[in-house]
């Protein structure tokens, strides 16, 4: 491995590190920062990527120190060269990091602002810190791993849209805010800790797993899909008890989540759930699976 002084060598994948130099005074629209936009670029090109800071356009280089390292690197399924992007610092004022990324790996060491990974289509976004609101909103594919907690509207639909997350996986080690997975259509969201009110609001399909205590109104207006509560919570009266059983798909989902680093006790894989159908105010084909206890 060697550090490139200027232009990146196009024949060699690179690890690109953006170290925060100064915290911006106002929120920054940072959708230009994702693995695809920095791949095969030299340091100066990356520094020149635009950032909207408030109402003025500035450069990545104004806020980050850029390091480009040539590595053995990784190649994606099409055997394309891919840069691995590492961001370091408190990025809570940076919005839309990893916005729409479709491949590659982006690792953030620090807290991120809202809309991280929104419209993401592939690749992996790892956040070693707290995530803001609208994490993975409208996500279509790929993985988001948060080693902390996330804000409201994880995987949800933006105002005026009927469908939120349509694919991919979001794993949050700690808790999440309100409207977790609201209006999601496909994909998996797993939260290790507690979550706020209205988890799975208006879900059309997909799976939400909540390891901690859920807030109120879980699954309100859900049409289809699955909410798995590993701790008992208060359910709406529009959810009807069906049976106690051990759904087989949970074993597959457990194995997958375990493989992705979502920590659950081994005994969890084979446990029984109480199944409730609802929301009866909608089609009623959704389900909430409640684990009686995790002892």
């Amino acid at each position: 491995m060697r550090v490139s002084s200027d232009m990146g060598d196009e024949s060699v994948p690179a690890r690109i590190t953006l170290l925060l130099k100064q915290t911006p005074p106002v929120p920054v629209e940072a959708e230009s920062i994702n693995p695809e936009s920095v791949t095969a670029k030299g340091r100066r090109e990356i520094e020149d990527l635009p950032l909207w800071v408030g109402n003025s356009q500035e450069r990545v280089g104004d806020y980050f120190r850029v390091e480009v390292e040539e590595t053995e690197g990784r190649r994606d399924e099409d055997n394309d060269r891919l840069a691995t992007l590492l961001l370091v610092g408190d990025l809570s004022r940076f919005k839309r990091l990893g916005w729409g990324m479709s491949r590659g790996e982006m690792l953030i060491q620090g807290t991120v602002g809202p809309h991280a990974g929104a419209f993401m289509r592939g690749g992996t976004l790892v956040i070693q810190g707290q995530a803001g609101d609208w994490l993975g909103a409208h996500m279509e594919g790929g993985k988001i791993l948060v080693q902390g907690s996330a804000g409201n509207f994880v995987g949800a639909a933006y105002r005026g849209y009927k469908t939120g997350m349509k694919g991919g996986t979001i794993i949050i080690r700690d808790g999440a805010g309100q409207m977790l997975g609201a209006r999601m259509r496909r994909g998996v969201i797993a939260v290790g800790g507690d979550c706020g009110d209205f988890a799975g609001f208006g879900m059309a399909a997909g799976t939400v797993v909540v390891g901690g205590t859920p807030g109120l109104w879980v699954g309100a207006r859900m049409k289809r899909g699955t909410i798995i509560l590993l701790q008992p919570g208060e359910l709406l009266p529009t959810f009807y008890f069906d049976c106690t059983f051990a759904p087989l798909f949970w074993r597959l989902l457990y194995n997958y989540l375990h493989q992705e680093g979502f920590s659950l006790p081994p005994s969890c894989r084979e446990m029984n759930f109480k199944r409730f159908s609802g929301d009866a105010n909608e089609e009623g084909k959704g389900e909430i699976l409640v684990c009686p206890s995790l002892d």
Partner: protein
């Protein structure tokens, strides 16, 4: 060439390209996985009369749901036949078995390395049994259908991989007595069971009524292998039986790859060279019809 004082004839087995699929059946324990597997692979000895050749490959080493599982292989002459057979057999034999689930056993092996011959969307057809209450889950990029049944749910993968395999690998055990032929055949079957990627579709892995192409009757495509029938040695126009041979049994092998079939033939022939066996031969059509030829002497070396 002789092996353990048994003559290995200078001939070859002639096999054909068939379409193969591996189905992993899981259940609460091995007993119920085996019940489902036996039913699903039942009456599937020969493509001539059954439309499919199938068998139990062995215990599944790892299963998607981490429960005990059995791997079954199915072979047909067309992708359409495969879909028809698997739909019937999964629907009638596996779904009906308590606690069972059913997964594609080839997606991992062949998904990335080799272009499969086809991907059959079986789960999305079987789902209609759910009468509108079925639902699906996409887990790690694969879709599974949950079909409500009286005992809970039947889980079946949506897509099943079909690859080009080999059907009709074989060898013949020519023995002094029927008992000696059976003992040798059983030893061969036991040895072949350890080879992955192959099945022996006939009962117990052994067939006694090997066939020849055609017959004197217009309505019959295949008939008894006259040249290897001991009771016809004196009257048949042509016999392939050496002196002292009074019984012949055949081992038929279907496999996912030519290498797997060759390996099964190798270990099977070596295990079958027991006392009372005079020679090992193989069935072929002169090498003109089958794509895969397995010369016996080359294989056992």
């Amino acid at each position: 060439m002789r092996l353990n004082d048994v003559a290995i004839e200078d001939t070859f087995a002639e096999a054909f390209t068939m379409y193969g699929a591996r189905v992993i059946i899981t259940a609460i324990n091995e007993k119920w996985a085996n019940h489902a597997a036996l039913a699903a692979t039942g009456f599937a000895t020969s493509i001539i009369g059954c439309g499919v050749e199938a068998g139990i490959e062995g215990p599944a080493l790892s299963t998607p749901d981490s429960r005990p599982g059995v791997a079954c292989l199915f072979f047909t002459t067309s992708k359409e036949d495969m879909e028809k057979q698997l739909l019937n057999r999964i629907g009638q034999a596996i779904m009906t078995t308590p606690t069972s689930a059913c997964y594609d056993g080839l997606s991992q092996d062949y998904g990335q390395q080799e272009q499969p011959a086809a991907k059959l969307k079986l789960g999305s057809k079987l789902r209609f049994f759910g009468d509108g209450y079925q639902s699906s889950k996409v887990i790690n990029g694969r879709r599974f259908w949950r079909i409500p049944v009286m005992e809970g749910e039947f889980l079946v993968q949506e897509e099943f991989t079909v690859v080009k395999g080999v059907g009709g690998g074989n060898f013949l055990i020519l023995a002094e007595t029927a008992a000696a032929a059976l003992a040798a055949a059983e030893a061969a079957v036991e040895a072949i069971r350890a080879v992955p990627g192959v099945i022996l579709p006939f009962p117990g892995g052994v067939v006694r009524s090997g066939s020849q192409v055609g017959s004197r009757y217009k309505f019959l495509k295949a008939s008894t292998n006259v040249a290897f029938c001991p009771t016809l040695r004196g009257i048949a126009a042509k016999t392939m039986l050496p002196p002292g041979v009074n019984a012949v049994l055949e081992i038929v092998i279907d496999g996912l790859t030519p290498d797997a079939v060759a390996e099964a033939m190798r270990v099977g022939i070596r295990a079958a060279c027991l006392k009372g066996v005079r020679s090992i031969s193989a069935g072929n059509y002169g090498g003109r019809l089958g794509k895969h030829l397995f010369p016996l002497r080359q294989i056992v070396q």
